[in-house]
Amino acid sequence: MLTLTCPYCGITAEETELHPGGEAHLTRVGPTGTDEEFEAYMFARKNPKGVNFERWRHAYGCGKWFLAARCTATLQVFGTYKSQNAHPPADIVAAIRKSRPDWNPDWTAE
């Protein structure tokens, strides 16, 4: 069973204690957004076969939303981090690159 550690309360929870919430780091489109931007925000998904960043809620625990880095091809978990991060933090990136040396971030840090 998939187990993730909640970065808020520190509890290592099984999948049944958590609720999945889809792709992480989606940027909300404002009222001036075009139809294309809204479509991309609401529906278009990266759906990668490999490293994936996703939202989870510690539903039967502290109730907080957090983010996880996980491989969808092997179910390996690279780590979890708080939702306040605009991008995966450096320690998560390092953990991913340790087992996926060829993987590169698709964002540019500010």
């Binding site: 069973m1 999948e15 049944t16 139809d35 294309e36 479509e39 990668p48 994936n52 179910l75």
Partner: protein
């Protein structure tokens, strides 16, 4: 076209003739040619939907310069992993139209393909176990009657008459009635793929297995070729019919789909004597059940909530599914489970499929069938063949375009059908 010998017509006379020859004269059901460097149409994905697309391209539109390329083996993806349920009792009109087209084609498919797909219209019940489901399914019955799809509402006693092993008075989820489609049923999933493959091969199409697509070559917004593990294959038109890996293939062509891939799993019990001659779906508890011809109870469950490409299930979904079903079917608690497996299904935002043109000229997608693709195979292939040959969707596919997500014209079956799609 292919030089391979044709499979020959199957009949009682063919069996008698071969019996006298110690069965030494059967030809292979389909040929395994090396790819040519160019085809008019290349279809990626030799599952049911891809093969049906090819078949109706040939049969309805006379296009036989077709290659169907497949990363693994023919019918080895979701076509060989589903619980073989066939029905067309959908709430929304566009869904009812394409699924009922599929059901009508299934009814004559064995004769059409000269291949026994073992279609068994044994009837299908969707159990209502909450007041919400009672209202929802009664609404579906009314909608179906307007659509010309005959379904009826069953009271609990009629459910019991049709399914003697059911427990109507479960403490958590009593059976309050059911939505019944007498024409629904099952078919042999492998035979559907094999039958279409044989028919396609006999028309001279090339089925190329163990051939993985590694790239899509475009020029000026128009598809030119696919690069594969067996070399470059040029094409005028490219149809992507790859279910769980649609996002990956679309990315090679430079566009993104409203698809997320998750695992859906099923399991079968040890074989027992005949005890249930209908298909039963219990959507409240995420379980569906039928008995195979071998006597196994075939059980399907819910999907994982997270993206997953591993083609294996997860332990807690087996427990969840079986735990829920044994309340309604107490006899299941005594059965041992033989096998369990998973497939990767492509879920769209509105849980309805995509049959569409794409931002790249000459590329067409058929995906997003999610947890319910098997029942749609003939109708999907029929509509996709029309789309690929004409370049614009016909009446069956028109509402399933990618543009519906931008325009907000959802075909909202996630409300109508829930998980067990």
């Amino acid at each position: 076209m292919s030089d391979a010998p044709k499979s020959g017509r199957y009949s009682v006379f063919a069996i008698a003739k071969q019996a006298l020859r110690q069965h030494s004269g059967w030809n292979r059901a389909w040929a395994s040619p090396a790819p040519r460097d160019r085809y008019q149409v290349v279809i990626v994905g030799a599952g049911g939907h891809g093969l049906a697309t090819a078949y109706y391209l040939g049969k309805n539109f006379g296009i036989t310069d077709v290659a169907i390329i497949e990363k693994g083996w023919l019918g080895g993806g979701n076509t060989g992993r589903n619980t073989t349920i066939i029905r067309s009792n959908y709430l929304q009109d566009p869904s009812a139209a394409i699924y009922d087209k599929a059901l009508k084609l299934y009814e004559g498919l064995s004769q059409d393909l000269n291949y026994n797909v073992m279609f068994s219209p044994r009837g299908l019940i969707m159990l209502a176990q909450t007041e919400h489901e009672v209202r929802g399914y009664k609404r579906t019955v009314y909608a179906n009657n307007l659509q010309g799809v005959s379904t009826e509402w069953l009271d609990p006693q009629r459910v019991k008459d049709l399914v003697p092993i059911i427990n109507l008075d479960g403490p958590r989820y009593p059976v309050l009635g059911g939505l019944y489609q007498a024409r629904g049923g099952t078919a042999r999933h492998d035979a559907v793929a094999w039958g279409y493959a044989r028919a396609c091969s006999d028309m001279g199409m090339h089925i190329i297995q163990n051939c993985e697509v590694t790239g899509v070559e475009t020029d000026g917004g128009q598809v030119r070729a696919v690069n594969t593990s067996k070399g470059r294959i040029g094409c005028d038109k490219l149809a992507m019919v790859v279910a769980g890996h649609s996002s990956q293939l679309a990315e090679m062509a430079g566009f993104r789909l409203p698809i997320e891939s998750v695992a859906l799993q099923a399991l079968v019990s040890e074989p027992v004597k005949p005890c249930m001659d209908v298909v039963l779906m219990a959507n409240t508890v995420h379980g569906y059940l039928s008995q195979s011809d071998k006597g196994e109870m075939v059980i399907g469950g819910g999907t994982d909530g997270f993206n997953n490409f591993t083609q294996r299930g997860s332990w807690q979904h087996i427990e969840e599914t079986v735990r829920a079903l044994i309340e309604t079917f107490p006899m299941l608690s005594r059965l041992k489970m033989l096998r369990q497996w998973g497939g990767i299904v492509d879920m769209t935002g509105d849980r309805s499929p995509i049959l569409s043109t794409t931002p790249v000229g000459g590329i067409f997608v058929n995906c997003g069938w999610g947890t319910g693709g098997f029942k749609a195979i003939p109708g999907s292939g029929w509509a996709m063949a029309e789309l690929v040959s004409k370049g614009t969707p016909g009446p069956l596919a028109a509402d399933f375009g990618l543009n519906r997500f931008r325009e907000g014209r959802f075909i909202d079956e996630s409300v109508a059908a829930g998980v067990a799609h």
